[in-house]
C-alpha cells in the first residue's frame, strides 16, 4: 500500500515543485498575465495564449516547456530513463515531436523557423489602411524619428556588458512597438530571450495609453500640443491632390515592397508580407476570399500558436534570471526613447518650417497601430476640442511599422 502511495506521489508534480519553488513564481506570473489579459483587456488576443503557455510549460513532467539548445546546438533530455544530448538541428520534426513533445514540435516548426511573424504581418497588412499616410505623405518621415529608441537602447544595453550585441539588438527592437517584428528579430538573433522579450513588447504595447501621455507631458508645452493641424492646412495648403485613391492604394504596396527589397533585403519577410496583405485588401472583390483568410482564419490561427509557443519558452531556467529584469527595464526605456525621438524630430522640423506640426504626430511614429494614434487624438482634444489629429497621426503611425521593420532588417543583416 505504501509503495502504491509512494508511486502515486512520484507521478504528481508535488515533489519537483517543492524542490524548485521557482515554479510557483512562474505560476504567479502566469496568473497575473491571465488577469491582465482577461480582466484588464491588455492585448488579450496575445497575452492570454502567452500566459497559458507559461502555465502549461511549467508543470514538471508535463513536457510542454520549450527546450532551448546550448551554444553547440545540443538539447539535453531524458529518453528511456537515460539522459541524452542531441543536436537539435540534426533532428527531424517527427523526432522532435516524439522525443521533446508537441510544444517543441510547434516551436521548432512554426517559431524557430521564422514562419509565424511574417504570417501575422500579412494579416496586419490586410487590416492596415495606407490612405491617411498617402493623404499626408510628408508626415510619414516622423515614423523614422521614432526608431531612435531602438538604436539608443542598443547602445545602452551593449555598453552594460551584460548582453551580447545580438541580445542587445533583440532587447532594443522592443522600442519599435511592434510585436511580430520584435519576435522575428529575437528568433534570428537571440532565441534564448524570446519569452521575456515577447512579454515585454506586448505588455508595453498594451501600456501605450499610459506611456505616450507620460512622455508627451514631460517633453511638450501646452502651446505645442494646441497646434491645430486643420488650421495649418488652411494656412499652408498642400498642392498634392489625389484623383484616384483606389489605383494609388493598389500600386503603393507593390512599389514599397520593391523599394525596401532593394535597399534592405533582410526586411523583406516582414515588409513584403505586410504589403502583400495590404495589396489583397486593396484589390477588392476579386481577392476578397484570400483577404478574408489572411485577416481572419490564417492570422487568428497564427496568433494562437505564436502566443502559446512564446509562453512555453518561459520555463523556470530561461525566465528567472537577471537578464529578464534587464529586458523589462530596457524595453520600457526603448519605448520611451522612441516616443521622445519622434517628438524631438517634430520640434526640429518646426524650427525651420512655417507650417507647424503638432508634436503628437511625432509621438505616434512608433508602431502600435492604431492605439498610439487614438491616444494622441485624445490628448489633442483635451487641449483643443476641435483639434482632431487622428488622420495625421495615422500617417506617422503606419510609416512607423515600415520604419521598425526596416530597423529590424538592418539589425539582422549586421548581427545575424
Amino acid at each position: 500500500m505504501g509503495d502504491i502511495l509512494n508511486r502515486i506521489y512520484e507521478m504528481t508534480a508535488f515533489q519537483a515543485i517543492i524542490d524548485n519553488p521557482g515554479f510557483l513564481v512562474m505560476y504567479a506570473l502566469a496568473f497575473v498575465l491571465l488577469y491582465l489579459g482577461i480582466k484588464k483587456q491588455y492585448e488579450p488576443l496575445l497575452l492570454i495564449p502567452i500566459a497559458f503557455g507559461v502555465l502549461i510549460a511549467n508543470f514538471p513532467g508535463g513536457g510542454m516547456g520549450v527546450i532551448s539548445p546550448d551554444g553547440a546546438g545540443l538539447v539535453h533530455f531524458v529518453k528511456d530513463g537515460q539522459e541524452v544530448a542531441r543536436n537539435i538541428y540534426e533532428m527531424s520534426l517527427p523526432e522532435i515531436a516524439h522525443d521533446l513533445g508537441v510544444m517543441n514540435f510547434l516551436y521548432y516548426a512554426l517559431i524557430k523557423s521564422g514562419l509565424l511573424p511574417p504570417i501575422i504581418f500579412m494579416g496586419v497588412g490586410a487590416l492596415t489602411d495606407f490612405g491617411p499616410m498617402l493623404r499626408n505623405l510628408k508626415l510619414a518621415i516622423f515614423g523614422a524619428g521614432a526608431q531612435f529608441g531602438i538604436f539608443a537602447v542598443l547602445l545602452v544595453a551593449a555598453s552594460t556588458g551584460y548582453f551580447s550585441m545580438q541580445q542587445s539588438a533583440s532587447l532594443a527592437i522592443i522600442g519599435g512597438a511592434d510585436g511580430p517584428t520584435a519576435i522575428f528579430t529575437t528568433i534570428k538573433l537571440a532565441p534564448e530571450l524570446l519569452g521575456p522579450i515577447a512579454i515585454a513588447a506586448y505588455s508595453y504595447m498594451a501600456l501605450v495609453p499610459v506611456i505616450v501621455p507620460l512622455v508627451v507631458k514631460l517633453t511638450c508645452s501646452k502651446k505645442e500640443l494646441s497646434i491645430n493641424m486643420k488650421q495649418q492646412d488652411k494656412l499652408y495648403p498642400s498642392n498634392t491632390v489625389i484623383k484616384n485613391e483606389r489605383a494609388l492604394k493598389i500600386i503603393f504596396p507593390i512599389a514599397v515592397t520593391t523599394l525596401v527589397a532593394i535597399i534592405v533585403p533582410s526586411a523583406v519577410p516582414l515588409v513584403g508580407m505586410l504589403m502583400f496583405g495590404n495589396l489583397i485588401k486593396e484589390v477588392g472583390s476579386s481577392t476578397s476570399r484570400i483577404f478574408d483568410a489572411a485577416s481572419n482564419a490564417v492570422m487568428n490561427s497564427a496568433t494562437i500558436f505564436l502566443g502559446l509557443c512564446v509562453g512555453a519558452t518561459m520555463t523556470v531556467d530561461a525566465f528567472l534570471n537577471l537578464q529578464t529584469i534587464g529586458i523589462v527595464a530596457g524595453g520600457f526605456l526603448a519605448f520611451g526613447f522612441s516616443i521622445f525621438g519622434g517628438i524631438m524630430l517634430v520640434k526640429l522640423f518646426n524650427l525651420f518650417s512655417k507650417k507647424k506640426i503638432n508634436p503628437l504626430i511625432g509621438a505616434t511614429g512608433l508602431s502600435a497601430v492604431p492605439m498610439a494614434s487614438r491616444v494622441a487624438n485624445e490628448i489633442a482634444l483635451k487641449y483643443d476640442p476641435r483639434n482632431h489629429v487622428l488622420n495625421y497621426c495615422m500617417s506617422s503611425n503606419v510609416s512607423g511599422v515600415i520604419g521598425s521593420a526596416v530597423a529590424a532588417g538592418i539589425l539582422i543583416a549586421f548581427l545575424g
Binding site: 531612435f148 555598453s159 556588458g161 550585441m165 498634392t240
Partner: protein, 87 residues
C-alpha cells in the same frame, strides 16, 4: 566592451540613416506615384448609373409652367426652378 560600444554607435548611425533614407524614398516615390496616377488614371471607375429619364419627359409643359408660377409667387420673384425631380 568598448568594441561593443563602437559597434553599437556604428549601428545607430547606419540604422537611423537607412530608416530615414527608406522613408524619404517612400515619400518621394509616393509623390511620384500620385502624379503618375493623376496623369494616367485620373478618375476612379464609378459603377454605371441607370439612365434616368430627362427632366422634360417627367412633366409636360403646362405642369412645368404651373410650378414656375407657384415658385415665383411664393418667393416674390426671387426664386427660380432649376430642376424637377420625380420622387
Amino acid at each position: 566592451m568598448s568594441g561593443n560600444i563602437s559597434e553599437a554607435l556604428m549601428l545607430m548611425g547606419v540604422g537611423l540613416a537607412t530608416v530615414f533614407l527608406v522613408l524619404l524614398l517612400v515619400i518621394g516615390f509616393g509623390n511620384l506615384l500620385i502624379k503618375a496616377v493623376n496623369k494616367f488614371a485620373p478618375e476612379e471607375e464609378k459603377p454605371k448609373q441607370i439612365a434616368s429619364k430627362p427632366v422634360a419627359a417627367l412633366v409636360d409643359g403646362a405642369v412645368q409652367q404651373a410650378i414656375n408660377k407657384a415658385v415665383e409667387q411664393i418667393t416674390g420673384g426671387k426664386g427660380r426652378v432649376e430642376k424637377i425631380v420625380k420622387l
